[in-house]
């Protein structure tokens, strides 16, 4: 049986993702201009620094393999006793944007015994200078909620 949302949501018709499709095309062109090998090489050049720092940070659990070659840019993590949404809010104040939630992977998170994580995504815009504010924000959140 279907379940209906409450009005007005149940009356909203779907709209084709026209702008998103256009944006996807532009993003693909941009990445092809950079060269995907270059994108991957850049990710791999900075990822070990982030993985090392995060795995050595007190209370931080990094999800997924710790071998850079087995990962792509995003690093999902949790911080003991701090809800990811609170981590995200704190990191905001440190100028660091992370995504929080289940990242459209609810069954996987359930399997991992979690209901959400924070996720820092390393990309062509990032370099190792971004590590410091990330760690500062995580420490701020950890200390703040432990007080």
């Amino acid at each position: 049986g279907a379940t209906w949302n409450e009005p007005p949501y149940k009356f909203e018709a779907g709209t084709p993702m026209i702008a998103e499709a256009g944006g996807l095309g532009a993003a693909a062109r941009y990445l092809m201009d950079l060269g995907m090998d270059n994108v991957r090489a850049h990710e791999l050049s900075i990822m070990p620094t982030f993985l090392d720092a995060l795995t050595n940070e007190e209370g931080v659990r990094v999800l997924g393999p710790l071998v850079p070659e087995q990962r792509s840019g995003p690093i999902a993590f949790t911080v003991d006793s701090v809800h990811p949404h609170d981590i995200g809010a704190m990191l905001d104040q440190h100028g660091v944007c992370v995504r929080v939630g289940h990242h459209c992977a609810k069954p996987l998170l359930k399997h991992l015994g979690l209901n959400s994580t924070a996720r820092a995504s390393l990309y062509v815009y990032n370099d190792v200078d971004d590590l410091e504010p990330l760690l500062d924000g995580i420490r701020h959140a950890r200390d703040f909620f432990a007080r």
Partner: protein, 157 residues
């Protein structure tokens, strides 16, 4: 207003030592389960009604500090009130989350500490979760039902 101001001591106290947090309630009349896919919050709320009064209320679940502390403060503010009064108070809180001045600050109790959440739009849903759950629990009771499950709309998280 900074984030540290948002997370006032009142809010942190409720987060660390929640009131009326329990997995079951004696004399339970209604159990509602509310979840918010935006952040993965899950909340179970149980109420017991006596002569049109909210005689018992407990919540349980998992979520961020704002959602859990707001639910805790909510349970204290609504316990012992008539069902109609709780619905009015819930509406007062909802309007406060949309930037309006509360007309019943004393009745909201510690709930008034969440006034600043209105300035952080992405957290408004967190603060509202418990209040929406109690409103739903009362309406479910008034319909003569005992269970209701609600998923709140949000961006895919």
């Amino acid at each position: 207003m900074s984030l540290d101001d948002l997370y006032q001591d009142i809010i942190l106290d409720h987060y660390k030592s929640p009131k009326n947090r329990a997995p079951s309630l004696e004399g339970e009349d209604v159990h509602v389960h509310h979840s918010n896919p935006l952040c993965g919050d899950e909340m179970d709320l149980r109420i017991h009604v006596e002569d049109g009064t909210l005689a018992g209320i407990v919540f349980d679940g998992e979520g961020c500090s704002i959602s859990q502390s707001s639910a805790s403060a909510m349970t204290e503010a609504v316990k012992g009130r008539s069902l109609a009064d709780v619905l009015e108070l819930a509406e007062d809180f909802r309007l406060m989350m949309h930037g309006e001045e509360s007309s019943r600050p004393d009745d909201l109790g510690d709930g008034i500490a969440f006034q600043g959440v209105a300035k952080f739009p992405v957290r408004v849903k967190c603060a509202l979760l418990g209040w929406m759950a109690v409103k739903d629990a009362i309406e479910t009771f008034q319909h003569g039902d005992h269970e209701h499950v609600v998923t709140h709309d949000g961006e895919p998280a």
